[in-house]
């Protein structure tokens, strides 16, 4: 699940953010405890705790003392805004560069994009 090529706590934080952006984790929904998470993904509990701590300090999760950790109500919208900013740098620009290397005219790329049907799972159900 998590690989050894970057800090695992960052991978954990990213995975939970992905789940929130895709709507798998809803607002005010409780997330797994650190220990549940550690056992499920076979990782050190202190490492898992660090990932959760990062999400709490970013305001993505909040803590209810003695109960557990929950998804902040505005987390999804804020994460979506952050990722929209990164989208062109991280997704579109490399795609265009790749298309150029392969000699695919950008009109063909655009034409393809416009015929892809809207995927109901793609997270537009805000």
């Amino acid at each position: 699940m998590f690989d050894d090529r970057s800090p695992i706590y960052q991978q954990i934080a990213e995975k939970i953010k992905d789940d929130i952006v895709r709507g798998v984790l809803g607002e005010d929904e409780q997330v797994m405890s650190t220990n549940q998470y550690a056992a499920f993904y076979r990782i050190n509990p202190a490492t898992a705790a660090k990932g959760f701590h990062e999400l709490i300090s970013e305001g993505v999760l909040y803590k209810r003392r003695g109960i557990g950790m929950f998804v902040s109500p505005d987390a999804r919208e804020r994460l979506r805004a952050q990722r929209r900013e990164r989208f062109f740098d991280e997704v579109v620009d490399p795609m265009v560069a790749q298309a150029r290397v392969l000699g695919i005219p950008l009109e063909d790329v655009v034409a393809r994009i416009t015929v892809i049907p809207t995927n109901p799972d793609a997270g537009s159900a805000a």
Binding site: R5, I8, N44
Partner: protein, 302 residues
């Protein structure tokens, strides 16, 4: 309950062979530690001194603030599982378990039964009749069910197939979650078990190479790949003013990949990206290989 460990300038000699050559590090205790090193690097020697199986030739080891050697009160709290099981060969498996039950204050008999079933250990067989992997599984059963405040597994998985090894990792983690204590695991199989470690100690030729949080180590390796001249120039630039060590270089035709070790700040990363070179991560296993390849290495405590 979870003893910390202090190792100061530890030396161990076997005749003229130097096994440990001035090791110094400190473990707070209560965590899962990975001890990594190549064959002959001194892992077993170090663990043997920690567990009071051997007397140090020089320097000092403290477990929970006390020297463990010939110290019954400390040794009672230590369980050292080597790659072979420390019971006499003609004993039955059931007798080995009964002995542990009698001498180990925290022995959990119900948990031992569960592990016996999990690893399908034949209770009535003598230890000498066990296959290699079964013998390892017996060691692991003894090591986990003893619940010693300091539990040490020294390559305890030899001969076990992958499903059994993963069963071991799962039990180790779950039992640690339920009963936190100081656990040291020495291993070569970093890819399999690395995610269980909170901290990693790497030794080579009896000396400390690195002691760091496992996640910190994962963040500190990077590879820069691209046209050889560009890579050389960029790595040279990155190293000015930064504590970066070149761990390895590989070249194929005109393409070169250089592995560096150290903290790459955001400005360094931006510089690599702007140069059009590829910045890749380095797996813990690869870092380990690089860090222990050369004898003259980074002396780097935390």
């Amino acid at each position: 309950m979870s003893p910390g460990i202090e190792v100061r300038d530890l030396r161990l000699r076997y005749g003229r062979t130097v096994a440990l050559d001035g090791l110094t590090f400190r473990l707070d205790g209560g965590k899962v530690y990975g001890l990594l090193g190549r064959n002959g690097s001194g892992k077993t020697s170090l663990l043997s001194v920690l567990a009071a199986f051997r007397k140090a030739s020089g320097g000092e080891v403290l477990v929970g603030g006390q020297n463990p050697f010939e110290n019954a009160a400390v040794v009672r709290d230590i369980c050292f599982i080597r790659d072979r099981v420390d019971v006499s060969d003609d004993e039955r498996v059931s007798a080995a378990l009964a002995y542990a039950r009698d001498v180990r204050p925290n022995w959990d008999a119900a948990y031992a039964d569960k592990l016996v079933n999990l690893f399908r250990l034949p209770l009535r067989k003598s230890v000498s009749a066990l296959a290699r992997g079964q013998r390892s599984a017996l060691g692991i059963t003894l090591g986990l069910a003893t619940r010693a405040p300091l539990t040490i597994f020294d390559e305890s998985y030899l001969g076990m197939d992958a499903p059994s090894r993963y069963a071991f990792y799962d039990e180790l983690l779950n039992d640690y979650l339920a009963n936190p204590r100081t656990i040291i695991v020495s291993t070569h199989l970093i890819e399999e078990v690395g995610s269980l470690f909170e901290e990693v100690v790497i030794i080579d030729e009896g000396r400390l190479v690195v002691h760091e949080q496992a996640d910190g180590l994962r963040a500190r390796g990077a590879s820069v790949t691209g046209p050889a001249a560009d890579v050389d120039r960029l790595v040279g630039e990155l190293r000015t003013g930064r504590d970066l060590v070149v761990l390895g270089e590989q070249q194929l035709g005109g393409t070169k990949s250089t592995t560096v070790f150290g903290h790459l700040d955001e400005s360094a990363r931006a510089r690599v990206r702007a140069s059009g070179l590829e910045l890749g991560p380095v797996a813990l296993q690869d870092l380990f290989v690089h860090l222990t390849k050369k004898p003259e290495n980074l002396e780097n405590s935390r």
